[in-house]
């Protein structure tokens, strides 16, 4: 009987590596990870410019200077987006706790947007209307809602795709806010 020849082990070895990768991936999915989530290309880079007109009848709009020098949460939302509705109470809670939120209203009718805020509350320090959707694209948004955490120096530190749920607050948002709050501007 010929001895075990190493090269014949290559197929099974390759397969086992693959199976392990699958296994790890499956456990991540079970743990709640969404395979469609993409990492933001902006992490670690300066936040893109904001120069948005106001949502008709509500304030002066949203400009970059307004988010400078503080830890800011920029939230892209629309009244026609059901997960945005789901997320709103969490945003209200953050606002009550003193977190500075800034809203980008994406391709929305002003009346609908204002009605939404009237009904569910307005957590935003400032609100801009992105009718053409260009600002959203500049921020690399693809799913609604999305929330960006920008630090005191104006660098994007985190992007959350989809609604922020209470468990995300404890898992990700609060620790991050604490860490960024301690940093120097």
């Amino acid at each position: 009987m010929k001895a075990l020849q190493p090269r014949f082990l290559i197929p099974v070895a390759a397969f086992l590596v693959l199976a392990t990768i699958f296994g790890v991936h499956l456990s991540e999915i079970s743990g709640g990870k969404n395979i469609s989530d993409l990492p933001s290309a902006l992490i670690g880079k300066p936040a893109p410019a904001l120069d948005l007109p106001p949502v008709e009848g509500n304030g002066p709009g949203l400009k970059s200077e307004q988010i400078r020098g503080k830890v800011a949460l920029v939230n892209i939302w629309a009244s026609w987006c059901p997960p945005c509705r789901l997320e709103h109470p969490v945003l209200m809670r953050l606002a009550r706790e003193g977190v500075k939120l800034y809203g980008v209203n994406y391709k929305d009718r002003p009346e609908a947007a204002l009605a939404f805020l009237a009904e569910l509350g307005n957590p935003f320090q400032a609100l801009g209307a992105d009718q053409a959707g260009r600002t959203s694209i500049d921020w690399g948004v693809y799913g609604y809602p999305e929330t960006f955490v920008v630090d005191k120096k104006g660098i994007v530190r985190y992007r959350h795709v989809g609604p922020i749920m209470p468990r995300d607050l404890d898992a990700k948002i609060y620790p991050l806010l604490k860490k960024l709050g301690a940093e120097n501007g």
Partner: protein, 661 residues
């Protein structure tokens, strides 16, 4: 009542398959006739039981028994009967029952017709088949029970998706499964041979019919899916390198390599270890596809609503089946003794080359499909691998195969004369050259790649004809002599000629439709005319139209050629309010020279409509070629040799040999 019978049947089938998996293996190891025979009876019993379960599910769909969760989710009283039936496998649970049914079917086929197999081999083959069945039946019973009940039963079902109510889409899964699952038989043969420690010409001959049958079915299944995408999705796209499409293509590539490799084992007793590995890999890649579609690790338009728990179960099955067989391979394959020697330039050499290229192609597609997953696992960030990658890498890899295809078929075994072979192929070479040059001149030198593609197609078609002519000694003797030889030519030779020639048709179709699609996107008002391909298309306007369960807009295009009306096309946009679904139905005029393809878009501001009109040259040849490839395979399948079996040496009484010594 009937669903319960179905579930009970599945459980019984599971028990039988466990027995089928264990007893014959023990019997074969011990030479116990009775235990080995059990393989045949249990394989038959398993098929009957799974068939009962499948019939029970089918019955529930046909009578619209909405107390069964599966039926309630996926069917509807308003569905035409044809689609109620196809709804059985249009969902995860039902399709798994079809899966194990086909597994059991192949087991039954070997049990019934494998009379020429040595009992030990047959017992082992059926045992492995039984073990696989046991694994997947357990998967169904524990995670994907199609017979779960719902109480109280809803009045109406949920499954009226109009997209699934299409013959192409509804009926391509059975063909695909016959293919994927059919490769399980080659797998079982390979594992049985490894356990026995013997792979020989006889084994290759026994394996071939099952592999061929599976390959034919898979070819048809892939072609049907591709054709469906073409006529349903709207612009002439027929292959998107989507992960699930790739998951069906990879086993096809490996299966093609297997078919060709087995020839060498059969004729020359060589390439054994390679062929056994391919047999294991063909089914393994099918299983990989099953995993990818149902586990949710990859996102794809085709994926069933996926579930990581099921994914873990399937992964477990994969580790046992694939890991186990590959380990057995690692241990036993070195013992397989190599056979006939051959020179690099020989038919064996050409088949080895074919093996190498097809396997590399399969590996590249696999790597491309899984790379995002692999890279992310190693922390390399997220990268996406789409059609541009596959087109850039896979297509160039296939060109040498297509050239070798024709040349290799003409070579003799053991040692061949390359110059002689190429000399005999002068007609094919000339045809290829003429076509390439003509196309390049006619369509412009910037189309040189497309010209080469068509030249390659000519090479394949004429080359196959030359091969046939050689074998029947056409032009070298009397016509009656040639006809006689043609009548006596083995079916496998006919099959090869048909399949290789058909490949040429497909290559031509792919090249022409990719290179010279004539696309026109514009706003049109009633009365506008446009010249598309060889036709003049007149838009007559669009208006509302109503169907049984849909509202839509229908456009009218008059297709003229040389002033005469050829046909009228009616593309539509349909809205299915109950399902909240929209579909577009293209208006297509199919001809051998190409398809005229019309699509109605949105209403334009200021009147008129957005319209898309395409002329896709030779596109139908893609699927016609595929069908003929499958036909060639079928012809090959009916070869007498498969039914007769490998020749058996007459048993020489041991006494005489020792006597005279």
């Amino acid at each position: 009542m009937i669903p319960e019978i179905g579930l009970f049947s599945l459980v019984l089938a599971f028990i039988v398959s466990c027995a089928q998996g264990v007893v014959p293996l023990v019997g074969a190891a011990r030479g116990h006739q009775g235990m080995m025979e059990m393989a045949r009876t249990s394989a038959t019993a398993q098929f009957v039981l799974v068939l009962i379960a499948f019939a029970a599910l089918m019955h529930s769909y046909v009578v619209s028994d909405f107390s069964v969760v599966n039926v309630a989710t996926n069917s509807h009283t308003l569905k035409p009967m044809l689609y109620k039936i196809s709804g059985v496998w249009g969902n995860h649970e039902g399709s798994m029952v079809l899966w194990v049914l086909i597994l059991a079917l192949f087991g039954l086929a070997v049990a019934v017709s494998g009379g020429n197999l040595p009992p030990g081999l047959r017992a082992r083959v059926l045992a492995i088949q039984g073990l696989i069945g046991a694994g997947f039946l357990s998967f169904i019973i524990w995670t994907s029970n199609p017979f779960e009940r719902l109480s109280p039963a809803p009045f109406e079902g949920n499954g009226l998706n109009p997209i699934l109510q299409d013959p192409g889409l509804a009926f391509h899964p059975p063909f695909l499964y016959l293919g994927y699952v059919g490769f399980s038989m080659a797998f079982s043969f390979a594992v049985a041979a490894l356990i026995e420690g013997r792979v020989d010409a006889a084994w290759a001959r026994w394996v071939r019919p099952w592999t061929l049958a599976a390959w034919c079915a898979l070819t048809v299944g892939i072609a049907m899916g591709s054709w469906w995408a073409y006529y349903e999705l709207g612009w002439g796209g027929w292959w998107f390198w989507d992960p699930v499409e790739n998951a069906s293509f990879i086993p096809w590539l490996v299966g093609t390599a297997l078919l060709h490799s087995a020839i060498v084992v059969e004729k020359r007793d060589a390439l054994k270890s390679w062929t056994v590995l391919l047999a294991i890999l063909a089914f393994s890649t099918s299983l990989l596809g099953t995993f990818l579609v149902r586990s949710g690790v990859l996102s794809s338009v085709h994926a069933f609503a996926s579930d990581p728990e099921r994914g873990v179960y399937i992964l477990g099955l994969l580790v046992i089946v694939i890991g186990g067989s590959l380990t057995l391979y690692a241990v036993r394959a070195p013992q397989l003794k190599g056979g006939g020697l051959f020179a690099p330039i020989s038919r064996e050499g050409a088949l080895v080359f074919n093996n190498l290229m097809l396997t590399t192609g399969a590996a590249v597609v696999t790597l491309g499909t899984l790379y995002p997953l692999i890279l992310e696992a190693f922390g390399g960030g997220k990268v996406s691998v789409g059609a541009p990658f596959f087109n850039a890498t896979f297509v160039p890899l296939m060109a040498p195969v297509l050239i070798a295809c024709v040349a290799g078929a003409m070579m003799s075994w053991k040692r061949s004369d390359l110059k002689g072979v190429l000399g005999r192929l002068w007609a094919a070479f000339a045809a290829a050259l003429i076509v390439t040059v003509a196309v390049a001149l006619f369509m412009g030198i910037k189309n040189i790649l497309a010209a080469l593609g068509l030249g390659l197609a000519a090479w394949l078609v004429v080359g196959s004809a030359v091969e046939l002519a050689e074998r029947i000694a056409l032009f070298r003797g009397s016509l009656s002599n040639s006809l006689r030889r043609a009548a006596g030519l083995p079916r496998s030779a006919w099959g090869m000629v048909i399949a290789h020639g058909a490949l040429g048709l497909t290559v031509a179709g792919i090249t022409a439709s990719s290179a010279w699609q004539d696309e026109h996107i514009q706003h049109m008002r009633a009365g506008d005319r446009l010249s598309v391909g060889p036709y003049e298309v007149v838009f007559e306007g669009a208006g509302p139209v109503k169907g049984p369960n849909w509202d839509g807009i229908r456009g009218t295009f008059k297709v003229m050629r040389d002033g005469k009306l050829v046909t009228t096309l009616h593309p539509e946009k349909r809205d299915y309010p109950a399902e909240r679904n929209q579909t577009t139905e293209a208006g297509i005029h199919y001809t051998a020279a190409g398809d005229l393809y019309t699509v109605l878009g949105e209403r334009a501001e200021g009147g008129g409509w957005s319209t898309r009109i395409y002329f896709n040259p030779l596109v139908a040849w893609i699927w016609i070629g595929a069908v003929f490839m499958a036909l060639g395979g079928l012809v090959s399948l009916t070869d007498r040799r498969h039914r007769v079996g490998a020749p058996r040496r007459a048993a020489v009484p041991a006494a005489t040999a020792t006597e005279s010594a």
